[in-house]
């Protein structure tokens, strides 16, 4: 009995060590990238009606052998619904890590943050989300479920409308993005706006189980998430509730990176509820026409 007591004391002492803490050092604020403000102002004209558009996120990786099936499914859905479906391919997790045979790195801070929070790669790739609905338990969807959920979401009435304007200066390499968000009906939640850049037509390696050999060197990657212009969880539009017809404008700018092909890129902005994470509206605009 005595040894038992000694052992349990040891166990208690060890357990106390479990309650770890992290001491944060300065700086305390998350540092945003410096934004150079040499963009021309843009005036948006009013829009009569907005259509509901749906955000389809495809969580993928270059070493994931079944991910091409998911990409094909996203492509088919876009063929069917056109501009109403906006696709982002998020490369994150174990199968997106660069290795000696797959040296490119398509991971991003934004994509990693989303993937860690929503748990996509931990559930096995490929998978995705449609408007991030049914969080926290059923937001991750097999690609065979995407079409059903997309068509359901497209039937809902839009509660928010987004307009985008883009200006690219080839001489300075500066990309300017202007957004205007219009509230279409009064809402009792906070709203966050997230803005990202994607690039299509990237020719690079990919594992594809339907090919022999499986390592494909000239696979075309589309809708690849390249950079977040806001932090991964977006910026609040500033209020706890919103009235119909309220308008919010924002401006973002960033310098083009060397390996980006401007002609194949687009900016995507979406408005979401920061508590349920549900995406209420999304809009996409190519950087060049």
């Amino acid at each position: 009995m005595k040894t038992f007591k000694l052992y349990s004391l040891l166990v208690v002492l060890v357990s106390i060590s479990f309650f770890s803490c992290a001491v944060i050092e300065e700086p305390f604020m998350v540092v945003q990238e410096e934004v150079s403000d040499s963009c021309e102002a843009f005036i948006f004209s009013p829009v009569e009606t907005y259509t509901k558009k749906v955000l389809l996120e495809d969580y993928t990786g270059q070493a994931c052998q079944n991910c091409p099936r998911a990409a094909e499914q996203a492509h088919e859905i876009q063929e069917q619904y056109g501009e109403q479906v906006v696709v982002i391919a998020v490369h994150a997790g174990y199968y997106a890590e660069p290795t000696s045979s797959y040296p490119n790195d398509f991971t991003t801070d934004t994509g990693d943050a989303w993937d860690t929070h929503f748990g996509n790669s931990s559930l096995g790739n490929p998978n995705g989300m449609v408007d991030r609905i049914n969080y926290p338990n059923f937001h991750v969807l097999q690609f065979s479920q995407w079409e059903e959920k997309v068509s359901l979401q497209l039937q809902t009435m839009p509660t928010v409308g987004i307009q985008l304007a883009v200006n690219y200066n080839p001489a300075s390499g500066l990309i300017c993005v202007d957004t205007q968000t219009e509230v279409l009906t009064s809402l009792e939640t906070n709203l966050h706006l997230t803005v990202v850049l994607i690039e299509s037509g990237i020719i690079s390696d990919q594992t594809d189980s339907s090919q022999d050999p499986q390592h494909v060197v000239d696979y075309e990657h589309n809708h690849v998430l390249r950079k977040g212009l806001t932090n991964p969880w977006g910026e609040s539009l500033g209020q706890e509730s919103y009235l119909q017809s309220e308008l919010f404008t924002q401006r973002y700018s960033i310098e083009k990176q060397a390996d980006w092909d401007i002609n194949n890129m687009a900016v995507i902005a979406f408005v979401s509820d920061p508590e349920t994470y549900e995406v209420l509206q999304v809009e996409e605009l190519h950087l060049t026409e």
Binding site: Y94, T107, S121, G124, N125, Q142, E148
Partner: protein, 546 residues
């Protein structure tokens, strides 16, 4: 509703506690994760899986009340948050299992959550494997009835568990089994025992798919037979499933089937078994779009040997539910004592061979590729073996007691492992040889030391591994162990995974403390692969039952 049943249990418990009996068990696992440079396991690297909570814990407790023909039970589970490696759907805490069961006049009724298996489980099996986080219990009603001697009927209706929620699909099933010897008086005394059984299961899920006409009710049936004659045993079960387009089979309308046949001969000192299996499109879940281990209605056993030695678990086999065929043969033999090979105490021999191949798949017509969505998928010749080999293994284990103090177990395992299919990575076929030598030495009464030396050699994947373990036990209460796995053959990074552990045992309570690193692992099920990252940490595990 959950609260109501719990309050009912509370009242039942306090009022009737004197006359019935209360029992239960408890387990809790805690882990503190430590950042590790060598394993690249840290907060800065998001894909390393290092948990930002730093400290994770799983726990559960079962409480059961029984009084003559009545029993009821509850289970509380908590994942705050779940340990690394557990399916990430386990988030939160709550009552996940509650039931009431009573039997009267031969009718056994269970309401609430229950586990059940029909035959071998290839048509229906709800079971739990707490350490893997597997639990597909039904929530519904189950009836068992034996109308005549030797005849056993079961029926159930329910929805299956999915973490802290339930699948939307409804499952119903009936199963009947007849023991001919018990049912028919004339067969009572004959030596040959014959059992026949049959089942029918169907699942319902609404079709909301805009593109395809999906069957909302998917039925399956099974028939089985078991014959025992003294030392001989013969079992077989055949399952047939009607069209079941789902994520796992790429939405094809082909029927599915599975056949498991096995036979064995055994007598004192000798046992031989042979089993063969063929599975064709038998992934059967209560929701079409689920994957990994979620909402499986049936259980398709892998016919490969389950290993306990750590290096032998680096390349584990998991059933390919969409199609595979293979066989297993095992020989158990005790070389008699007094013979030259047997020595003073005899020698145990255990040899096992197993293999798994793809099934034959042919296009349904010239223009439709295999497994095309919305078609019949493929045709398959039942008796033809497919071209691709998935797995093959031969192992032999010799165990010998040298004298009162010393015992040896020597094992050799040779494995062929198809990395594309089983790991989702292209390393080709991985050929590996494993040698293990385990010794047990009794230092004095109640004090014993056990050592293991293992070596895995392969030219593919991560290269060679070596492993050493020493475990000191003091009966009946204490153990202390150190071990290390070292991947010295890896051309990329030579990582080692040392661990130190100790534990205290008292009756049904057990405490175990361990500190060290854990190897990464990949799991591929139904075309989806997930990676469990390597980790480093301190863990404490407590279990008890009363």
């Amino acid at each position: 509703m959950k609260n109501l049943l719990s309050i009912l249990l509370l009242c039942t418990g306090t009022i009737l506690a004197q006359s019935g009996q209360l029992s239960g068990n408890f387990q809790s696992d805690f882990q503190l994760y430590l950042e590790d440079e060598a394993l690249d396991f840290n907060l800065e690297n998001p894909s390393s899986g290092y948990p930002s909570e730093r400290f994770l814990s799983n726990g559960f407790a079962n409480i059961m009340y029984t009084k003559s023909n009545f029993s009821a039970g509850v289970r509380y589970e908590s994942y705050q948050n779940a340990l690394l490696g557990y399916p990430s759907g386990y988030k939160g805490e709550g009552i996940t299992y509650r039931y009431a069961q009573f039997s009267s006049n031969g009718l056994d009724v269970t309401v609430g959550n229950f586990y059940e298996q029909f035959g071998s489980g290839m048509i229906l099996r709800a079971y739990e494997e707490r350490n893997l986080g597997y639990d597909n219990a039904f929530d519904g009603i189950r009836l068992k009835y034996s109308p005549l001697k030797g005849v056993y009927l079961k029926s159930l209706v329910g929805r299956q568990r999915l973490f802290f929620d339930k699948g939307e699909g409804l499952v119903r099933g009936i199963d009947g089994e007849i023991s001919l010897n018990e049912a028919f008086v004339g067969l009572n005394e004959i030596k040959t025992q014959i059992l026949l059984g049959g089942s029918f299961v169907s699942k319902y899920q609404k079709d909301l798919n805009p593109a395809y006409n999906l069957p909302e009710n998917v039925g399956s049936w099974a028939s089985r037979m078991s014959i025992n004659h003294g030392r001989w045993n013969l079992n077989s079960e055949y399952v047939h499933k009607y069209n079941d387009p789902s994520f796992a089979n790429n939405y094809i309308y082909k029927t599915g089937n599975a056949l498991l046949m096995s036979g064995s001969y055994s007598k004192r000192g000798f046992g031989l078994s042979l089993a063969a299996k063929r599975i064709d499109n038998m992934d059967y879940r209560s929701e079409r779009d689920q994957n990994l281990q979620n909402l499986m209605i049936n259980y398709l056993p892998a016919l490969t040997k389950q290993h306990a030695y750590s290096l032998a678990t680096i390349y584990p086999y998991g059933t390919i539910t969409t199609g595979e065929m293979g066989l297993q043969a095992e020989l158990n033999y005790k070389v008699k004592k007094g013979t030259k090979l047997g020595g003073k105490y005899g020698m145990g021999v255990l040899a096992n061979f197993s293999n798994v191949y793809a099934i034959d798949k042919q296009q349904i017509n010239a223009s439709t590729p295999l497994d095309s969505t919305g078609t019949l998928g493929y045709t398959s010749d039942f008796f033809k073996v497919g071209d691709e080999k998935y797995f093959q293994e031969f192992s032999i284990e010799l165990s010998k007691k040298v004298n009162k103090k010393l015992k040896f177990i020597g094992t050799y395992i040779n494995t062929e492992y198809n990395s594309e299919v089983l790991l989702g990575k292209e390393y080709g076929m991985i050929y590996s040889d494993i040698f293990v030598l385990e010794t047990q030495y009794k230092i004095k009464s109640k004090h014993s030391i056990r050592t293991e030396i293992q070596h895995l050699s392969t030219k593919q994947h991560e290269g060679n591994w070596v492993m050493g373990l020493a475990e000191y036990t003091i009966s009946p209460h204490y153990f202390f162990a150190v071990q290390n796995l070292y991947n010295y053959g890896n051309t990329d990074k030579k990582l080692s995974y040392p661990t130190v552990s100790s534990g205290y045992n008292n009756g049904t309570s057990r405490f175990a403390l361990s500190y060290g690193k854990q190897r990464a692992g990949i799991f591929c099920v139904g075309g989806v692969c997930r990676n469990v990252p390597a980790s480093n940490g301190l863990s404490l595990s407590i279990t008890s039952s009363f």
